[in-house]
């Protein structure tokens, strides 16, 4: 069952995973509080998240984490109990505290050191919120750590149960003092132990305590049964016995008291140290319960009091009502008084997480790969069966159809395993917004939508950097300064919205801001200054917007702390393209900017167009194709030998022969009647690739080539088609880029690879 290596290391690793989940719950809760929609349960969830982190951290001795979590928890406890108001400022501190908690968790996980100055700053904010009163409480609690229970020595108060008038039929009240210590021991401890009835009700058992004492040393036990009534008068829920114990041990008094730790408030206990004669129980302690069996009251008992079973813990939970009434004078705890007062917490709002299994990612990837093989295999069988000319309603064909359906379902399910909600990614962004906005002195709020949208884990991981950059840009460049916003009649607080959703088999992530929109004049001017576009270029609005993605473009006139990290939007764009995604930009002057990222659901399969060129079958990722055209004579214009352009609507795009570009054939004499795929390039320009025919559109399983061949220009990967043939998956953007450079040597490489 247990991992034999080091189960604690495994639990530790699992703790950090749990911490991430708790941090996520914390963020969610704080967000709800920030939106002003919090109820008591929200605050409870936030509190519990911090509390659980603290609990686990304590188990691993992560002191920094415990210390901070404790302070945070104390403040949240104040919010919970209503002594601290969770206003905007407080919530802002909570968000920062959550960030720091995250830092500390990760620092502990990676054996790193978190930024201490930030921690101290937030720590003092938290301390300030606790205020002076709370500070004192805090100290009290610390003290109580060391003295877990105040021993009740006020015996008069503790016998409330014992003299309860529950036994009215008893003849006489025997107030004889109990048989106190019969001998004075020179060493060891003398312990008088008189359990309350409630001791039994709490599931405790004197026998167990005696056994524990026996483990500490030599024991001499005397049980006082003088209070025991006759059997007929016996109330099975009452306590009648007391013990006098002499213990000879090397342990100190605290160790002896520890034994009675759980029951200290449920009994009358005196412990007398070595050398001192036991004082005996004071008279008030005498079991005033009447006793008729007084003679021979003192019986030497070993460790098994014969009465044990009579008053076993089964006895009692609820005292009779008159008992309860009687207890008013006795502050001693009475088990039964509590349950009536406190309603059971409502079981509504199920926040219980669904059960999960943690699996090594490698195993899943292996499964994904195998299922990919299965899909290919299935396609091959289908194709061979079709070739045998079997009728479609034959048993074999029908069975095969079902098989195909099942394989697809399996494939979808397996892909789902790798899928994760984008929530954790989005939450990280809210921190970026907080930090970025405070750095540039703007007030910005992040709204997220659709954070339950599931995306492949790798996609999520690789999206973090580009998204971070875009969010920073939105705060830094998108949102105006507070003054400008007020001048423009907008609320002072800017809003950056991050949303995710599924649209036609792809994942769409949008980053929008309600800022000023792209300053196109400025962008164009910079592009001209940097020589990215000719001086008198006439560009459409969208072309100007897309200049942002050009390598070497950076709008920051003053390089700010934030976005000026040498990473431009071109890097963002290529990161997204590398994921098989696309990014588009839409700007509305005065209203804001929207960046739309469209991503494949998974990196393991790809929607492709299967094409033929020069008797070779290739797959072109559908996401790169904007449209397909049949070339008409008048649209083709020759610019020079081997250089043609075609007219697509109002603009001209270069026409490239894919067969030639890949080195399969020489350029054709005429391309009239050929089919061309219009490929969108990173700079927003287009190019047309000539192919011979389009076979099909289908999902193909991606088989990486990089491990075997390294990076092959123009080729993204390979796949196995239904007929068992291998087809290369094209990277058309790369093909077009290479064609611009006209590098012949690459083509000979391709010839080998193809």
């Amino acid at each position: 069952m247990m991992d034999e290596d080091d189960p604690m290391a495994e639990i530790r690793a699992s703790f950090f995973v749990e911490c991430e989940e708790l941090l996520e719950a914390l963020q969610d809760g704080l967000q709800i509080m920030d939106d002003g929609e919090a109820d008591d349960e929200t605050i409870n969830i936030v509190f519990r998240a911090v509390h659980s982190i603290k609990g686990g951290a304590g188990a691993f001795g992560l002191e920094d984490l415990v210390r901070f979590a404790h302070q945070f928890e104390s403040v949240l406890d104040g919010v919970r109990s209503g002594t601290i108001e969770a206003d905007r400022n407080a919530i802002s501190v909570f968000f920062q505290s959550g960030d720091i908690l995250g830092d500390l968790v990760r620092a502990a996980r990676d054996d790193d050191v978190a930024d201490d100055s930030r921690i101290q700053g937030v720590m003092s904010s938290l301390t300030a919120m606790l205020g002076a009163d709370a500070q004192e409480e805090e100290t009290e609690e610390e003290v109580s750590d060391f003295q877990p229970m105040g021993l009740s020595l006020d015996l008069g108060l503790d016998i409330g149960d014992n003299d309860a008038p529950a036994l009215p039929d008893l003849p006489d009240l025997d107030t004889t003092p109990p048989p106190a210590t019969t001998a004075v021991f020179e060493d060891g401890y003398t312990i008088h132990f008189l359990p309350d009835s409630s001791l039994y009700a709490s599931g405790n058992e004197p026998l167990h305590l005696l056994r524990l004492l026996r483990e500490m040393g030599d024991l001499d036990v005397t049980c006082d049964t003088s209070a025991l009534p006759s059997l007929s008068a016996l109330d099975e829920e009452k306590s009648y016995l007391s013990w006098t114990i002499h213990l000879t041990t090397d342990e100190d008094e605290d160790a002896v008291r520890d034994v009675f730790d759980f029951v200290a408030d449920l009994c009358t206990l005196t412990i007398t140290g070595p050398g001192k004669p036991g004082p005996g129980l004071p008279p008030t302690d005498a079991p005033s319960s009447p006793s008729t069996t007084n003679e021979g009251a003192t019986a030497d008992v070993s460790f098994n009091p014969p009465q044990d079973s009579d008053i076993s813990p089964e006895a009692s939970v609820a005292l009779k009502p008159d008992d309860v009434a009687d207890v008013k004078t006795a502050p001693a705890p009475v088990t039964s008084s509590a349950p009536a007062k406190k309603p059971a917490p409502s079981a509504s709002k199920s926040t219980k997480p669904r059960p999960t299994v943690r699996v090594d990612l490698e195993r899943i990837d292996r499964l994904v790969n195998l299922v990919g093989e299965l899909v290919i295999n299935q396609a091959m069988i289908s194709q061979s069966v079709m070739e045998t000319g079997l009728q479609t309603n034959s048993k074999v064909s029908e069975g095969l159809d079902e098989f195909m359906q099942l394989t697809r379902d399996i494939q979808d399910s397996v892909m789902m395993i790798r899928a994760q909600p984008v929530k954790s990614l989005f939450q990280r962004m809210s921190r970026i917004v907080r930090e970025a906005s405070s750095m540039v002195g703007k007030s910005v709020r992040l709204k997220t939508e659709g954070d339950a949208t599931e995306v492949d884990k790798t996609v999520i991981e690789r999206l973090a950097d580009p998204l971070t950059h875009m969010i920073r840009n939105a705060v830094d460049h998108g949102i105006e300064t507070p003054q400008d916003r007020i001048a423009a009649g907008k609320p002072e607080e800017g809003i950056v919205t991050l949303s995710a959703g599924h649209r036609s088999g792809r994942v769409i992530v949008e980053i929008s801001d309600d800022g000023a929109g792209i300053n196109r004049d400025r962008v164009l001017q910079i592009a001209i200054e940097k020589g990215l576009v000719p001086e008198n270029a006439q560009l459409s609005d969208s072309e100007i917007d897309n200049l942002l993605f050009m390598p070497g473009f950076s709008t920051a006139s003053e390089v700010s702390d934030l976005s000026g990290r040498g990473v431009g939007m071109d890097v963002v764009k290529s990161a997204i393209l590398a994921l098989g995604g696309r990014v588009t930009i839409q700007s509305n002057p005065g209203k804001g900017t929207v960046f739309t990222i469209s991503l494949p659901l998974t990196l393991a399969v790809l929607d492709g167009m299967v094409i033929d060129v020069s008797d070779q079958t290739l797959v072109v990722p559908l996401s790169t194709i904007t449209e397909t055209l049949t070339l008409m004579g008048p649209d083709i214009r020759a610019l020079g030998p081997q250089t043609n352009v075609i007219k697509v609507r109002d603009s001209f795009v270069p026409l490239l022969d894919l067969g030639f570009e890949l080195g399969f054939r020489s350029p054709l004499e005429s391309y009239v009647g050929s089919i061309a795929l219009l490929i969108a390039q990173e700079d927003g320009n287009h190019a047309a690739l000539v192919v011979d025919s389009i076979q099909d559109q289908r999902q193909v399983v991606i088989k990486g080539l990089q491990d075997t061949f390294g990076r092959v220009p123009g080729v993204a990967a390979a796949t196995i088609l239904g007929d068992g043939k291998i087809a290369l998956i094209l990277d058309p953007v790369d093909v077009v880029a290479n064609a611009d450079g006209r590098t012949r040597s690459l083509k000979s490489d391709l010839r080998l690879a193809g």
Partner: protein, 123 residues
Amino acid sequence: MSLQILAVDDSRTIRDMLNLTLNQAGFTPHLADDGVHGIEVLEDMSPPPDAIITDINMPRMDGFGFIEAVRKIEKFRAVPILVLTTESAAELKQRARNAGATGWIVKPFEPKKLVRALQMVTG
């Protein structure tokens, strides 16, 4: 037969640690995520557990509610219940005691102490 121990805690880490500690001590652990789940697990247990360990701060039903609920069920009235809590404040202990707790262990718990406490309440 080894002692059957029900451990209720909403933190997976603590559950894992309890599971490990109890297993290593030769007990048979039964785990639950919160009070409501604890009652469910408890009702499926036959015979009743030899002892119960429960956290206090939990969603759905907290430790106090759980202990009270357990004590209301006749066959579980006498099962020793240890409270596992980071709060060592006397007031909280008192509340746990009032709800019917047998004893408590302060988190982070030392495995040895936990086992000893369990031995103590189970005899």
